[in-house]
């Protein structure tokens, strides 16, 4: 599957408190959460974001709290994928589990600028910065995770086991 959208660029250590501030965690409603996505780091984000857009972060993207509401808010905003030099581990697994594509690519992250148009081929991990005419290769997912991704996330993956009586 190919994803295409404009880049929203952030720095290192973007934490889950700024992705979805805890003051909004009194609800599990994805649309309500999405309305406050990135609010404490980029209050205009929700007005700018278009379906398909790509968030690019630096090192340690999604650090802090375990709140799954963070990748959920990003996904519900219409963001097609997140590219970063590295991800905090709970954010990474949450994203895999809920089916938000996350790609690790330090070079693509370092060279991307806000507003760049990018295309991502999820199957191959090829990232193309159309604005700059540059291509990159994201780190491949281990086979174990590919199974969860292929199933469409952990819910579908577990559902197979549960309904099979295992």
């Amino acid at each position: 599957m190919k994803l295409r959208g404009r880049v929203h660029r952030y720095g290192d250590h973007v934490n889950t408190d700024v992705i979805i501030p805890a003051r909004y965690l009194n609800t599990s409603d994805a649309k309500e959460l999405a309305a406050h996505c990135m609010e404490d780091i980029d209050p205009e984000f929700v007005n700018r974001v278009e379906p398909g857009d790509i968030i690019v972060g630096g090192e340690d993207f999604g650090c802090g709290s375990s709140r799954e509401q963070a990748p959920l808010a990003i996904k519900t905003c219409g963001v097609s994928c997140v590219i970063a030099a590295s991800f905090a581990r709970i954010f990474f697994r949450n994203s895999i589990n809920i089916g938000l594509p996350v790609l690790v690519c330090a070079e693509a992250s370092a060279e991307a600028a806000a507003g760049d148009e990018m295309e991502v081929d999820l199957a191959s991990g090829r990232i193309e910065n159309l604005t700059q005419g540059r291509t990159y290769q994201a780190e491949p997912f281990p086979e174990f995770l590919q199974q969860i991704i292929a199933a469409g996330g952990l819910v579908a993956h577990v559902k197979k086991k549960v309904t099979a009586g295992g």
């Binding site: 250590h13 934490n15 003051r23 780091i41 709290s65 375990s66 952990l154 086991k161 549960v162």
Partner: protein
């Protein structure tokens, strides 16, 4: 080649003789945890998985601790979802307002985590339980849902960093100072995807409360888990909370570590982490003149009886600075009651502090002490990110209970020695 304690626990819980870093396992989970913020989402996902009953009700713990006592209507609804699920599924370990404590203070106190066990929690500070010699890590809501449905969780075996602490601690220096200093040394992503194994003579003589504080903040260095090999202190603590049996494991002498960090504790002063990252740690003497509006003593990091005693010793016979609001939050109802019985409650109230019921409230800017724009707090909590405790233009300085109490009295960030 031997294995680390982390590798041994993961191997034992996935039916394997040996596991190595980088391998994926489906681990049997001994205890799974959720709270009023993460459990409602997990319950929704649990249903989407087609699951009807939790795999094992005795291994599920649900704690209403974040936005409780219910801070608003929406929070009340979230708690209701969790309560109804807990009751209908006959979840063995469910705590509601009045009996609930801050989860990571509560579960060890209840004897629900033991050496050698594997624990996951839909809360990033689940890594606290590594202090008991357990493998414990934070996960998301969907992970909790999967664990409730299947009893298992997918995990990648982490490489381990060994941090060796030597030397005697200076007065007023405790677990919080050691972990802030460590995060300052290795950085907030210094242990990303890795296990942090705390070892050395200083750790061996560190009481359990300090160990829990250290492992609690392993996540603040990006670690998957913090862990300490169980020893006599672990046994003493376990005996004080439970009579059940458990199987402790320890790292092999020839276990492989990705890195070893040596820390000379005799040089460590009480630490303060400046806004807006926990790695901005420095000795309290080097912070300079920083006035504060609020001090918070509590949280899953420092809300234990030992922490309250340190604070009370400094506050006894003194008054909180007129410009400062001091909020003291015992971690659990049991600690709260003990604090009252020991006379600490009276010391806090006489000093002009608030003595709150157990709640995570102010730590994450939820309720019970939210900061306004331009306000500054010193807190014994674990994160000082932008907006963590309220307005994005407020600031949080992280410290241990001694620095927080001294600062509350003096109205500025202060070394406890300045009070004498």
């Amino acid at each position: 080649m031997g294995m680390t304690i982390t590798e041994k626990i993961l191997a034992a819980h996935s039916g394997r003789e040996v596991v190595r870093p980088g391998e994926f396992v489906n681990a049997r989970v001994d205890l799974m945890l959720g709270n009023d913020i993460t459990a409602p989402l997990a319950i929704a996902e649990f249903r989407k998985m087609g699951a009807e009953r939790v795999a094992d009700r005795s291994r599920v713990a649900l704690v209403a601790d974040h936005y409780t006592p219910n801070k608003d209507i929406k929070s009340a609804e979230q708690c209701r979802v969790m309560r109804e699920f807990a009751l209908s599924q006959e979840v063995a370990h469910f705590w509601d307002t009045g009996r609930a404590g801050i989860e990571h203070a509560l579960l060890p106190e209840e004897g629900l985590v033991a050496p050698g066990e594997c624990v996951i929690g839909a809360d990033s500070h689940t890594c606290t339980y590594g202090a008991l010699g357990a493998f414990a890590t934070g996960v998301g809501s969907t992970d909790l849902a999967a664990a409730m449905a299947t009893g298992e969780c997918w995990l990648r075996v982490p490489p381990t960093i060994k941090v060796v602490y030597r030397g005697e601690l200076k007065p007023w220096v405790g677990g919080k100072d050691l972990i802030l200093y460590t995060i300052g040394r290795i950085g907030v992503s210094g242990a990303l995807y890795q296990a942090l194994e705390f070892a050395g003579e200083t750790i061996e003589s560190l009481p359990m409360a300090g160990r829990l504080t250290m492992c609690n903040m392993a996540i603040e260095a990006g670690a998957k888990n913090g862990i300490i090999n169980p020893d006599a202190e672990t046994e003493r603590f376990m005996k004080s909370v439970t009579s059940r049996s458990y199987q402790p494991v320890v790292s092999d002498p020839d276990a492989e570590y990705v890195r070893t960090v040596e820390i000379d504790c005799a040089q460590i002063e009480p630490q303060v982490a400046l806004p807006h990252l926990p790695e901005n740690a420095r000795p309290v003497q080097e912070v300079g003149e920083v006035t504060i509006d609020q001090a918070v003593i509590g949280s899953c990091t420092n809300g234990r009886m030992e922490d309250l005693r340190i604070a009370a010793a400094l506050l006894k016979g003194r008054k909180v600075h007129p410009r400062v609001r001091l909020i003291v939050i015992p971690g659990t109802p049991k600690i709260h009651l003990e604090a009252i019985k020991e006379g600490l409650g009276e010391i806090f109230l006489a000093a002009g502090a608030v003595l709150s019921t157990p709640t995570c409230g102010p730590c994450l800017g939820g309720h019970m002490g939210v900061l306004a724009a331009g306000e500054r707090a010193v807190a014994t909590t674990n994160r000082n990110f932008v907006g963590r405790m309220g307005h994005t233009k407020s600031e949080v300085y992280l410290a241990g209970p001694a620095v927080a109490a001294a600062s509350a009295v003096l109205g500025r960030i202060a070394h406890p020695e300045e009070l004498s």
